[in-house]
């Protein structure tokens, strides 16, 4: 896909319009899509693809994907949400993802940032330091 600066700028603006109090909401996204359909941009499909791409990024920034090999209590999940909301200064929703390769502990991903407190990660770092 060719990167057009104008389209990128438009897609980013659309993402901003999709936010309500700094959080992307389904209702706002629906409104933005309806508006886009009305306007019928010359590169409608490209704009949509770019919008989807930046929307994914924005959602990733608002979501803490908690990978863990076992189950996690609701309280723990809540505590994670509170902690990361405080760190990033915006509301962060926690989502659980099961990953048995971690052996034990948790790994949390918020956007590009990865917080690793898993045993597998610990062992990997140990191996790197020893070799």
């Amino acid at each position: 896909m060719k990167r057009d600066k104008k389209i990128i700028r438009l897609a980013k603006k659309l993402v901003e319009l999709s936010k309500d109090n700094g959080v992307v909401t389904v209702a706002r996204v629906g409104e933005v899509l309806a508006g886009l359909k009305q306007v019928q941009h010359r590169h409608h499909l490209t704009v949509l693809k770019s919008f989807l791409n930046y929307l994914h990024r924005e959602i990733a920034l608002q979501t803490a994907v908690v990978s863990t090999p076992g189950a996690l209590s609701g309280e723990a999940l809540k505590a994670i949400e509170v902690t990361y909301s405080k760190i990033y200064g915006r509301p962060v929703t926690a989502v659980i993802k099961q990953d048995t390769s971690l052996i034990a502990g948790v790994r949390v991903r918020v956007g590009d940032d990865l917080y690793d407190a898993s045993l597998a990660g610990r062992l990997q770092r140990l191996a790197e330091n020893v070799s």
Partner: protein, 514 residues
């Protein structure tokens, strides 16, 4: 084995259950050693990026949504969608005395099969050059062992002297000769226990091979080993087969290794062979990164690429260890065009240049140093008195000789003075012919030039001067050893030494003529 157990025990002792934060990104595209990554929002300029599987890269382009990264090493295993992590570190290479005698790649990994490098210290490859305050003027000579250079274009410790010329004109040979000469001087002064006497400053060498054939690098190593110079030398190799990122980074890695010696009060010599190929590698990286191109398609910052590298060579003052890093960058010209982009850039950055001419090389004048176009801007301050005394007028004499020789072609009737000038000039040209990898000690150089200047060669046919020079050199190194020792230690030709030298020369003339 016990050290590994110890390391594991230390790790367990320092175990903390806290989370480790890293910043990640995904490869969007990868081609020709350059990867574009999505994410990595926390990446810093020039930061090392970990691609996993032992592959690292350097973040060179930080854009709004993407990070452009050059990959060091084998990138064939990487694919679109692979994850990369920031490391929070700048690219660093091992430095220290343990590197001497070793051949390493652009990031300091050994490639000579002699096991791991014995080094505990690392330096970042891209460091800021010493400022104005820690610097000192060049005042100590860096003897190349090449008579034409040491007498007419002297190089000082901490100087940057460009070696420039077309292909196959002997550029590398001059650099190798200089490295061999440093090793010879070091060995001459070394005590039996391997230490050096107080007051003597050994010179360690770093040879950075950029974009060269592996066979050429192997030949260079063989020459250095044969001459016993490898034990004082580090070879950094980024051959033509290496990816452009390695060719771009190799000179910086070499400079870091050299800076270790300078920062620790020692003297080092670094040869960049050659910077034209580094510029080409940098151009390739820049074009793939879609940076705007300028003259000859080089990016706008190609001047800064070379200036920031060569500024790292310096002579620092006593307060900063009194060390030095001398640079001999090499530039290959195309058809003698010194006005091309990269040659003019590097000429303006360096403190002088040794220009080698194809015509002279083909005429058999080797090293093919063009006296008219070569210059050393600061080195004369570092020349020892012995050489200064005898070689002060050589450059002028040679220039006059070339002018007279050009005029003499048109007429046969010449006065005695002109004939004598032509004869002397022709003999000096012959005197400066020197075999490759055969550096001449400075005391012998000064005596040989003294002999020509004072007419000891006048009776010898021009065609026999090379033979005579070789004979006189042997004579001076054997029967004249005492005089040579005096010149070496005194670094000057006193009246008494001059008298002794005259006697030796007269003895040699009698023997040679007979």
């Amino acid at each position: 084995m016990s050290s590994i157990v110890e390391q594991i025990e230390n790790e367990i002792a320092s175990f903390q259950a806290s989370a480790v934060k890293s910043n990640t990104g995904k490869i969007v595209s990868i081609a020709d050693g350059v990867a574009k990554l999505e994410g990595l929002s926390g990446a810093m300029y020039n930061e090392m990026i970990d691609f996993g599987q032992g592959v690292y890269g350097i973040a060179l382009n930080l854009e709004e949504d993407e990070v452009g990264c050059v990959i060091l090493g084998d990138y064939s295993k990487l694919k679109e969608g692979d994850e990369a992590t920031t490391t929070g570190k700048l690219l660093s290479v091992p430095v220290g005395m343990g590197l001497l005698g070793r051949v390493v790649d652009a990031i300091g990994n050994p490639i000579d099969g002699k096991g791991p490098i014995n080094s505990t210290e690392t330096y970042p490859v891209d460091q800021i050059a010493p400022g104005i305050i820690p610097r000192k003027s060049v005042d100590q000579p860096m003897q190349t062992g090449i008579m034409s250079i040491d007498s007419m274009i002297p190089i000082g410790r901490g100087q940057r002297e460009l070696i420039i010329g077309d292909r196959s004109t002997g550029k590398t040979t001059i650099a190798i000769d200089t490295i061999i000469n440093q090793a010879k001087i070091n060995n001459q002064h070394r005590n039996e226990d391997g230490t050096f006497p107080e007051g003597f400053r050994p010179v360690y060498s770093i040879y950075v091979a950029i974009g060269q054939k592996n066979s050429n690098i192997a030949r260079t190593i063989a020459v250095l080993e044969k001459a016993g110079a490898m034990e004082y030398t580090i070879i950094v190799s980024a051959s033509a087969g290496d990816n452009p990122a390695n060719q771009y980074i190799a000179p910086f890695a070499g400079a870091s290794m050299g800076e270790f010696f300078m920062n620790n009060g020692m003297d080092a010599l670094i040869v960049y062979d050659d910077l034209s190929k580094q510029a080409v590698a940098y151009r390739q990286i820049s074009l793939i990164l879609k940076r705007p191109s300028g003259r000859e398609a080089y990016p706008g910052d190609v001047f800064y690429l070379h200036s920031r590298l060569l500024e790292r060579s310096a002579r620092v003052n006593e307060d900063n260890g009194n060390g030095s890093l001398t640079a001999l960058p090499i530039i290959e010209t195309q058809a003698g065009d010194v006005a091309a982009y990269i040659p003019t850039n590097v000429i303006s950055i360096t403190d002088g240049q040794v220009f080698l001419e194809t015509d002279l090389f083909n005429q058999g004048i080797r090293p093919a140093v063009s006296v008219g176009l070569s210059v050393s801007r600061v080195g004369s301050a570092a020349q020892i008195k012995a050489i200064k005394k005898v070689a002060g007028k050589v450059k002028l004499q040679l220039a006059q000789f070339r002018e007279l020789a050009a005029f003499a072609q048109f007429g046969s009737d010449l006065d005695a003075k002109t004939k004598a000038q032509l004869g002397r000039g022709a003999r000096v040209v012959e005197l400066f012919k020197q075999k490759a990898f055969n550096p001449i000690p400075v005391e012998v150089q000064s005596s040989l030039i003294y002999a020509v200047q004072n007419g000891y060669f006048d009776a010898i046919e021009v065609a026999k001067i090379v033979e005579a020079t070789s004979s006189l050199r042997d004579f001076l190194e054997t029967r004249g050893a005492k005089v040579m020792d005096t010149i070496r230690t005194e670094k000057a030709i006193s009246d008494a030494t001059e008298a002794a030298l005259k006697t030796s020369l007269a003895e040699w003339v009698a023997g040679f003529s007979a």
